[in-house]
Symmetry: C2
Subunit: 141 residues, 2 copies
DNA sequence: CCGAATCCAATCGGATACTG
DNA sequence: CAGTATCCGATTGGATTCGG
């Protein structure tokens, strides 16, 4: 897994043959692979990206968050925000009141994730029709 | 799930209160939600993005592809390229030879996925250390 | 060389019920 | 309100074996 190649181009996966330089790149790239894998495991799950998106305009409480992410169960929302909190992408603030009030908010790091996620979302919207057509053609033949 | 808001800003999830306009946006946005979900289900899996990355510089045969994506099993590589083929992101060309030769290549649509994926990969590499630190801090406390 | 088929463990995620 | 706990079906993905 190399991200910066010998020619300076960016790559997502490793092309490396077995030259010494490439091997160095490969070893360094293994770290990159873990980074990409880790991030993909987070944003690739069913709800994280939607939660990030729901929080992009400000603070939300648990129930509000649940309304903004249609279809998420209480359990999965809890697990998802815990993961995001653990990864330092979301802060969780508990106010000592009755009834309890818990507020979720993106951290600075969490906010930087919005831009690339949005790029992906735009790609999805733009190419979804083509994908649907491709599937029908593939399944039909 | 709204992507373009009333104020023109982009969003990943739906903020919509129940005005008529927002409801229209919401209904239209449900389509966007399916698009994003669909694409996330594809690139969010364990291997698709790595395969796309491996193919970004040209054509590869099955075994080459497997070498370029370290850790992938034969089974998963087969399933992954089939999905990508079905979605019209990759072409699969079988040459009638012995031994058989099968070549995989990105389609035009597949190539457009590289840019946003790379943006995400760069984010991953840049913020992975912060995520690791956040996790240690979270787990330690 | 390029797969398909089978088996199986682990994880994911929904439903439901209960709590401070 | 904001969770936690438990159960359970569905999905994921690795290992292995067989075939054209």
């Amino acid at each position: 897994m190399c991200v910066t190649n010998t020619d300076g181009r960016m790559t997502l996966a490793d092309d490396a043959p077995s030259t010494e330089y490439e091997d160095t790149c490969k070893r360094a790239g293994e770290e990159h692979g873990r980074a990409i894998r880790t991030v993909l495991d987070r944003i690739g799950d069913k709800w994280s990206l939607l939660v990030i998106g729901a929080l992009q305009h400000g603070t939300l409480r648990f129930t509000e968050l649940q309304r903004h992410v249609p279809g998420v169960s209480q359990r999965m929302l809890t697990l998802t925000v815990r993961q995001l909190e653990r990864d330092g992408l979301v802060t969780r603030t508990v106010h000592a009141e009755v009834p309890p009030r818990v507020e979720y908010r993106l951290t600075a790091v969490g906010e930087t994730l919005i831009e690339p996620s949005l790029a992906l979302a735009q790609w999805a919207i733009e190419h979804y029709p083509a994908i649907e057509r491709a599937r029908e053609a593939f399944d039909g033949s």
